[in-house]
Amino acid sequence: MLQEIDRVIQQYKGKPGSSIPVLQRCQEIVGYLPPEIQKIVARGLKTSAAEIHSVVSFYSFFTMKPRGDHNIRICLGTACYVKRVEEVLSKIKDNLKIDVGEVTEDKKFSIETVRCLGACGLAPVMVIDEETYGAMTPKKVPEVLAEYS
């Protein structure tokens, strides 16, 4: 894993403004960005750990907590809001017994909320890993989750 990170850093080294792409790639590799990784990136890009941390903490794409094997992203955009995505979200929370930003005990699922996935035509929408589920209802939640367990 560290070798892969090193390769990414070497590829971008010296290129101005590369911290965000490097962090994106690192998060793909590791799954999240703990302080140790941030320090490695900072050293590699010859900048301070504070600088890197300021970027990581600013953008919602970056996470410092590990995610579950299957990451559930629930859209809280306007169209989904109007179509009552809240009810779907609470059903998922009840089912998995975790809150937004948490991981289930067996590390299988984690829940995140996002601001508009741009699939408003299908509202309410959620995405598990890369798969999009549209027109969600609380009723559909158990069967969708069952696909992943």
Partner: protein
């Protein structure tokens, strides 16, 4: 080129893919082989068709028959009827809701009939991954014209004369922006594209990038020539993986064909571009913040001047245009300013793409001339309310920076000026329609949650002010509203507008101001009577069944998660108030509208707890 008897244009936009395009496509392919038709009929995957709610959709050429809501189970029948026997398959066609008959041709469907396609000219018609298909539809002719026959001044004049205005929200004249950057002297200039579509409820940029990526690239090439830039960046949200993939593919194809890189088309002009993935921050839609983000920093806005046209990305002159703006550049250059001005009004020329969503029947992307009445968009194209029994209440335009337009203003023509007068803004073109069951205080709270969360924190009025207003709105929706709250909200709003640096803070209070302006009675009912008339704020309502309307069908009793509804079959039911948790399930379920929503009632809270324990 091989010839086919029919082409099946299947939508492969994000919406239809999620609704099942890949599975249906595989089923059709299999079925065609089974029937021995695979050499006569070709399947083409296109970008977003726009009619997302009816997905997966498919258009059959040459007849132009439109099929919707395709399922794997219906495929054998469809193939046999239409492609073997030549009888279009009515069951999968769009149905007219009143007359109950099927509408076979796409252009006869009201959703499509009122549209004019300029930005979306290639939507659903070409394979977005094929540069040849784009070129076959006059693609890159405008770029060739701009690079070989026109001077930068000619290009800028054409765009200025056409009256093209930025489609990202503020509506700044594009030609003027280009002129400023063109006059700046520097060794390097940047041509940037804003694909960081952050407004919740708007998805036209995603759709354009997915359905017609070359139209954006062509616009950028022309813009680059106008301002004298050799480097471009497309900033795209990481949440749009399909758009990124199609853009990258389009860029690679352009490089191979010599449409990007050194000495494009032998004109001596060089330009190349790359994609930069955003990392999820709404404020990065603001131009200076976006540029900081490309530089690898926190995306926080900075004061202007200096404007990006003088000092932008890496302190070099830069122009940032929205995806939709860039997509209309090529046809404008090719057909001239007069053509562009054929649509729209004097100050708001051309056409605009809107994303229709919410409680409306026809959800999807529509492109209409500027100045089209709001009513036409919502009723003729949108088909009115999804639930015919519900009344239209309001349409939200402009996302978290915009406002809610009430029913009495539904006749306004949609132009930059007219929309601003209502307290909303054009924004990127999201239109979220709400029916009478929507609580406007909760809606304002929803947007404040968004802006409080997305405020970058640089300016105190925005950072703290949005939080304070959000707390007040939360109090109001939970029954802790006090006398004077409305006035305090208005005061705070005006302060935040006056003292924030960027567009985010300056517009964050708009949802509050516009809902107070048109729905003040709702705020008052929440505060004084502790009554949310829509039953959305569960602490501020109670439910009762009117005995004279109730038919005793029992649907509500089955829907109630608390078992709080009792009554004999075919006789009026009633609700045990102490057990009711105001979840609104009965209200949504009742087909006879017999459930009435009243103000909050004092109740024995232990009853619910006791019941929970028993279970």
């Amino acid at each position: 080129m091989e010839k086919y008897r029919a082409n099946l244009l299947m939508c492969a936009g994000t919406g239809c893919v999620a609704s099942g395009t890949p599975k249906v496509r595989a089923a059709i392919e299999e079925e065609l082989i089974k029937k021995g038709l695979e050499n006569e009929i070709k399947i083409v995957l296109t970008g977003c068709n726009g009619f997302c709610a009816e997905g997966p959709v498919m258009l059959v050429y040459p007849e132009e028959i439109f099929y919707q809501k395709l399922t794997v189970a219906e495929v054998p029948k469809l193939v046999e009827e239409h492609f073997l026997k030549g009888r279009p398959y009515e069951k999968l066609m769009f149905k007219d809701i009143e007359k109950r008959h099927a509408i076979p041709l796409m252009n006869d469907i009201p959703f499509f009939k009122h549209q004019v396609l300029r930005v979306l000219r290639n939507k659903g018609l070409i394979d977005p991954d094929s540069i040849d298909e784009y070129i076959a539809r006059d693609g890159y002719m405008a770029a060739a014209k701009a690079l070989t026959e026109m001077s930068p001044e000619d290009i800028i004049k054409a765009i200025k004369d056409a009256g093209v205005r930025g489609r990202g929200g503020a509506g700044f004249p594009t030609g003027l922006k280009w002129e400023f950057a063109s006059k700046s002297v520097a060794d390097q200039k940047y041509m940037l594209c804003n694909g960081d579509e952050g407004d919740p409820g708007a998805f036209m940029d995603r759709s354009v990038m997915e359905a017609d990526p070359h139209s954006v690239i062509e616009g950028m090439i022309i813009g680059a020539k106008a301002i004298g830039s050799s480097k471009g960046v497309i900033y795209v949200r990481a949440e749009y993986p399909l758009a990124v993939q199609r853009l990258q593919n389009a860029i690679d194809d352009c490089r191979e064909r010599g449409l990007l890189g050194n000495d494009i088309l032998g004109s001596g002009f060089s330009f190349d571009l790359e994609i930069y993935l955003g990392a999820g921050a709404f404020v990065c839609g603001e131009e200076t913040a976006l540029m900081r983000s490309i530089e690898g920093q926190r995306g926080m806005p900075r004061p202007r001047p200096p404007f990006p046209a003088h000092k932008g990305l890496w302190d070099k002159p830069s122009v940032l245009n929205n995806v939709e703006t860039l997509a209309q550049i090529a046809p404008t250059i090719l057909n001239g300013p007069e053509w562009y001005r054929q649509l729209g009004t004097e100050k708001s020329a051309g056409s605009k793409v809107f994303a229709l969503t919410g409680d409306i029947r026809n959800v999807g992307l529509v492109e209409v001339p500027m100045g089209t009445p709001l009513k036409t968009i919502i009723y003729d194209i949108g088909g009115g309310m999804k639930n015919k029994k519900k009344k239209f209440k309001s349409v939200q335009m402009g996302g978290p920076s915009g406002g809610c337009i009430p029913e009495e203003l539904i006749d306004i023509p949609v132009t930059y000026e007219d929309v601003v007068k209502t307290g909303a803004i054009m924004g990127s073109g999201g239109m979220v329609v709400m029916d009478e069951d929507t609580c406007m205080v909760s809606t304002a709270k929803f947007f404040l949650e968004f802006t409080a969360d997305e405020s970058c924190g640089k300016c105190t009025p925005c950072r703290v002010g949005t939080r304070v207003m959000l707390d007040m709105l939360t109090d109001i929706t939970e029954g802790r509203g006090r006398e004077g709250d409305i006035e305090t909200l208005q005061d705070l709003s005006n302060d935040i507008i006056a003292t924030s640096l960027c567009g985010l803070g300056q517009t964050a209070p708009n949802p509050i101001l516009s809902t107070i302006r048109y729905f003040k009675d709702e705020y008052e009912a929440h505060i004084h009577q502790k009554w949310c008339k829509t039953g959305i704020c569960s602490d501020l309502c109670s439910f009762e069944i009117s005995e004279d309307v109730c038919t005793g069908c029992g649907a509500c009793a089955r829907a109630c998660p608390q078992g709080a509804i009792v009554g004999e079959k075919k006789k009026p039911h009633s609700i045990i108030q102490d057990l009711c948790i105001q979840c609104r399930s009965c209200y949504d379920r009742c087909a006879f509208q017999s459930i009435k929503i009243g103000p909050a009632k004092e109740k024995d809270k232990t009853a619910v707890a006791v019941k929970d324990q028993e279970e």
